[in-house]
Structure formats: structure tokens, C-alpha cells
Symmetry: C2
Subunit: 232 residues, 2 copies
């Protein structure tokens, strides 16, 4: 993150900041963002609630810190899974690893998942330093597609982007320095939105009455998306 703290005060501050986040994350995991209370965190730490404001200027700032951490957590989990599954050119296994990592992390940390992928907190808008953690999963997906090579074999043709979308995505590829064609980017967003939709449906109870134990359907959907992505 930053340079090592020099003075004892800096060290204590860094430590306390970390402790606060830890306790807050535990409360978040147990009760959800809604019920996360600064005062309760302060109580558990044995300090006055007003003292917390030396470390986080508001409750929303604390939540933002937890959001960044959650993005990093799921991002690292996904990167590990992708790396473990497909270094030797098996992109479909890597894709499956990515999807399974997202889903299992989401099921283990539903409140943190809801915090980052569910409805945003009222006045929240992402600061710039959120961007890198925010992008880890999409970048991991793009990495799989890049490594899977240019030989696309999906059921959709290669040049199937309508004009406006092509120009828009060309600009995105340019601006982001991504070395994939725009059509691949489109397929990536399509697939990522698809698995996100299923995971959210499962977590938020929208699959009740249809794919209720979601494991078979999730595996099926992940495989169909792999077909669409043209993954070998």
C-alpha cells in the first residue's frame, strides 16, 4: 500500500485502522451492511464512538474501505483459481475456475457480495482508487480470452458487432490498452453479466421455484457461456 510507518504513532494508527476494519468486516459478514453500526464497532473495540472518526470520516467511508477489500478478496480468489486451472492453455477450465470462484466466494460472503454487486449504498460513488480492485475479475476474464488465442469457434460469427457498439468498444479497447478485439470484449461482458446474473439470482432468492439448488444449473450455464466464448 504505502511506505512503512516510521513513528510509533503511525504504527498505532495503522494497526487500529486495520482492527477497526476487521471488526467492521465481521459485523458486516454477520449482519449485513444495513446493520453495520459504528457505535457497535467502537463498543467491541472498547473505545468511544467519537474516536472512530479519527480513522474514518464517516460510516460510508468505512463501508467504502470494506468495498475495496471485498473487491480485492474476490479478485484474488478468482486470479488464484484461474492460475491454478489453466496456465497450460486450457481456457475452458480457467473460465470454469473463474465462475466457480466467484460463486463460492459469493456464497461464503453473501453480505460482502451484496455490498459490491448488489444495490449500491445511497450516496455512494466509487473513488478512483476503487478502480483497480474493481477491475480484477473482468481483467482476469479478458486474460483468459486473450490467452485462448485468436481462433474463435463460437456459434456467433467473429464480426458480429453492430456499428455503434463496434466503435464504442474499439474506443474502450484503445483507452484501456486491452489486446483483444472488440467483439471479444463484447462476448466477455455478455458472459460476465450472465454468470453474475445467476449468482445474484441464487443469492437473492430469485431462483426459488426454478433452479433452486443452483449447482446443476450453474454448471450448465457456465458451460453454455464457454461455448459462446468459443473456449476450447
Amino acid at each position: 500500500m504505502t511506505a512503512a510507518p516510521r513513528t510509533a504513532r503511525d504504527r498505532a494508527r495503522a494497526e487500529l485502522t486495520h482492527e477497526i476494519k476487521d471488526v467492521a468486516r465481521r459485523h458486516l459478514a454477520a449482519e449485513g451492511a444495513q446493520r453495520l453500526s459504528l457505535r457497535a464497532v467502537a463498543r467491541e473495540l472498547g473505545m468511544a464512538s467519537s474516536a472512530l472518526y479519527r480513522y474514518f470520516p464517516s460510516r460510508d467511508e468505512l463501508l467504502t474501505a470494506l468495498i475495496v477489500d471485498a473487491y480485492d478478496a474476490v479478485g484474488e480468489r478468482v486470479e488464484r483459481a484461474v492460475e491454478a486451472a489453466g496456465p497450460a492453455g486450457h481456457p475452458r477450465a480457467a473460465w470454469r475456475g473463474l465462475c466457480d470462484a466467484v460463486r463460492s466466494w459469493a456464497r461464503e460472503h453473501p453480505h460482502e457480495y451484496a455490498l459490491i454487486y448488489g444495490s449500491p449504498v445511497p450516496g455512494y460513488q466509487a473513488p478512483d482508487d476503487t478502480l483497480a480492485p474493481f477491475s480484477r475479475v473482468p481483467f482476469a476474464l479478458l486474460g483468459i480470452l486473450r490467452d485462448s488465442g485468436p481462433d474463435f469457434a463460437g456459434p456467433f460469427g467473429e464480426a458480429d458487432l453492430p456499428g455503434p457498439l463496434a466503435t464504442q468498444f474499439e474506443a474502450v479497447v484503445e483507452a484501456g490498452g486491452l489486446d483483444v478485439p472488440p467483439a471479444t470484449l463484447a462476448r466477455a461482458v455478455f458472459a460476465w453479466a450472465g454468470v453474475f446474473g445467476i449468482v445474484s439470482f441464487e443469492l437473492f432468492g430469485q431462483l426459488a421455484g426454478s433452479a433452486d439448488p443452483a449447482d446443476p444449473f450453474f454448471a450448465y450455464a457456465v458451460d453454455r457461456h464457454a461455448d459462446l466464448l468459443g473456449l476450447a
Copy 2:
């Protein structure tokens, strides 16, 4: 809903209940579920906050009523769109109408969308009378697929369900009295989760930096899902 109210008291009660919901819905639309406050609603209605508890036993019950109304609102919007687009056997137009209806409703009512499709409120679990409004959009989609006839022409084969998923969805079809094959149900959930994912991504800011003005990508994705659904 129920029989017409007879006495003046019943009439007043029904009217006030409606007024409370209206004011609450306005607050919800303006500020989000998080900031919806019983006391503020009571203030705007010129009554004591404690009096509201004669009509809704808790804040969560009020929110539940708003959830049901939101499901009904998006459901009716979708049904209208489907009916307007495709009565004469143009299933792809009907599917496009469904998707556009969902997205435009979501963009017009982001907080209500977040309420029903975003992270659920902490202790909430859907009561039984939520089931019908909850199911209107999925049923509309199944209606399109049923009317599109049995001649499936998508890029995936007809009998592509793995064993466990097939048996699970056969049971669902049986239990729900749905007259579609299990494979069609699977494709329906797949497609519905996909467009839901895109709409949620757009509303919750996850498309920032990729498909940021989402119109072209949404149209593209809806069309790709139509292909996958085998819609003519």
C-alpha cells in the same frame, strides 16, 4: 383484491393505507429504501408516527408492500409490452419488448428495482402472497417461448440438458404446470438471468469503463439471447 369496503371506517382505512404507500413510494423513489423513514412519511401525512403502526405493523412490512407493488408494476409493464409486440407470432419482437420493458422500468425506478432485484433487506423472506407478482416476468417469458412453437432452431441442440438438471427441471415443469420442455425452461432462466445481469450492471455502475452508455450493448445482448432462445 378484496371485497369493496362497506363501512365508512373501512373505506377510510383503505384510503389511508393507499396514501401511506403512495407517500412511502415517493420517498423510496427519491431516496432509496435505506433512507425510507416511517417518521418522515407520517410527518408528510400530518399524523403521528405511532399512528402508522395501525396500518403497517413495522417498517419492513411497509417495504414488503412496496416490494409487491414493484413486482406488479414491472410485471404489468412487461406483460403490456409483450402483448403489444408479439400477439401475431413474432416471438423475437415479444422478447425484445420484454427486455426493453424491464430495462426502461428499471431506469425509471432504480430504487424500486434495487429493492426487488438488488440485495434483499436483512431479515426479509418473501411471504406466499408475493409469489404471484414475483412470477409475472418469468411467466411472460415462458409464454413467449411456448407460443414460439416447438421447432427450436438455436445453436444449442434440443436435448442438451445434463442428467441432474433435466430431472430437476422436469420436476419444476410438473409442479408448476408449465407446458414447456425442461430444456426450454433452462434456456429461459439462462436468458432471463443474462438480461437481469446487464440491467443490474448498468444500474449499479458495474459497466463504467466498458459498455457505459449501455443502449447498444443491451440491444446486442438481447439479440444474442434471442438467437440462443431460437426465436424467429
